[in-house]
Amino acid sequence: MISYIIQRLLQGVVVLFLVTFFTFALMQLAPGDPIDLMVGEAIITDEQIARIQEKWGLDKPWYQQYFTWLSNFFRGDLGHSVVRTGYPVSDMVIEAMGPTLKLNVMALILAVILALPAGLFAAVKQYSVFDSAIMVWASAGVALPNFWVGLMLIVFFSRELGWLPSYGTENWKGWIMPVVVLAINETAILARLMRGATLEVVNQEYVTTARAKGLAERAVLLGHIVRNALLPIVTVLGLRAAFLLSGTIVVEYIFAVPGIGRLFIQSVDRLDYQVIQAITVMFVLFVIVATLVTDMLYAVIDPRIRVK
């Protein structure tokens, strides 16, 4: 168990180095002088240039530049924005974090509340009409481009009915469409997974035993079926949470949610490299940490893995 955790942690660190290095290398591909990229149109003195050069080690070879950048990054110094001249990137990222977290947590909760019971009952009543409906949804839901669903909701709820604002998150109404759109593919994926996981469990001997010893159907369902079916779901949930962040870019763009995704798109549009770099590494860090945590969580809750 301990050696497993240490091994996974070490792997995580290696991946972290690779990923930060990828990102750093990518930014070096960007055309133009790094100082120009860092200060943009701002008028600065030679002295300031010298200070920037020293801070990021721009006169040193590339691998030293990489380590300078990395150590600055982990000390929370993400550089300064070009577009909002001199504004620290870390502050911009922290400001944008709130709306993104809110959006993603609500979407994940919505998806879980809808999909897990749906998948469970589809499996318990296998081959019923409800089961077929869930399977159709599971196929259709993953094929729906969420940005198109977003546009369709705007046409229906903003243009035709006038119930919800087509963009902006000033009040609670503005959150409804972004959350629904972000949750939509997730409900399809989770429902299918939950159905599959439940089907694996329902024919196990311990379920038959539980029924044979006269337990109420409710107790069998909650105590034996759900508990075991949830195991594989937990591992997937961590990863899905990480990848929701990918969807958040499109959703924030459509509905003008002032979060990380929109900041990312704006920065790419204006070639604000320090911000792009910071957000990319943050996204990746989140995925690495989420993967590590779920792996370990899985080892903790599933005794079969612990023994191995």
Binding site: Q11, V15, F22, V142, A143, L151, M152, V250, D269
Partner: protein, 312 residues
Amino acid sequence: MSSSHNVDVSQRARDTAERADSGITLSGVERKRRSEWRRVWDRFKRFKPGIVAGGFILVLCVIGAFPTVFEPYDPLMPESRLRGEGPTWSHPLGRDDIGRDILSRLIRGTRVALTVGIVSTLISLTVGVTVGAVSGYFGGWVDTILSRFVDALMAFPILVLLIVLAAVLGPSFWMTVWVIGLTVWSTYARVVRADVLSVREREFVFAARALGANDARIIFRHVLPNVIGPVIVISTLSVGSIIILEAALSFLGFGIQRPTPSWGNMLADARQNILTFPHIAYPPGIMIFLTVLAFNLLGDGLRDALDPRQRE
């Protein structure tokens, strides 16, 4: 996963060992092949949605191959007096925000979507299968290095990576194809690696090695044919997800650039006029949905046919 492709391992071992030797009994091998694909086809036929999906994809391919034959108008020609005109008899899907015929743009977009979907899939398949096969077959430090590399690639949310690459390298059609192809291969690598790990311990591989076959020959003649089933399934499903990726990328403005019509950038145009001309937004989304659904259903059908044990 691959175990079902070796129902009769000892028979396969004999066949392959024979082939690895010099006396290739071509006729025998070929007869066996044909019957295997015959059985796959028989199983595939049972999944009706898969057949319908396959037919739909065939139609799309014909349209995508000869778009000019089907386009009623020039998809790039604007008509400024008729901006955002709704559906009429002569323009069944209406005109877009600068008066271009939406049906013609949709047809041209079919070619773009399929080209990106299929060519990017071929690129990622080549890279992923190679990495997976090398990693699984040789093991050791080669495997460790390649596996960490795959882990690192998988840690990037694909859309983030694609946007950064497009921004740094400058978006264009072939850039989009290559960038997607070179970033989405990790699934192949992982699946092929796992399968190769199990296949390389089989008797027929030992038999081939005992008969003097070298590594390259063993990989290409004995190991890869056994992982071909899962690879076909993954690549079919991957065409669908790549079409969505391309559409999302173009929707955000980092993929296919105007004036070339792609379903994604048509939706970007639609978004800017969503409250005034909502009819522009319907057709591209429906096409993306149907096409992706078709590739997913075809993939499901192929999975049932190629690997019955994977059946849900």
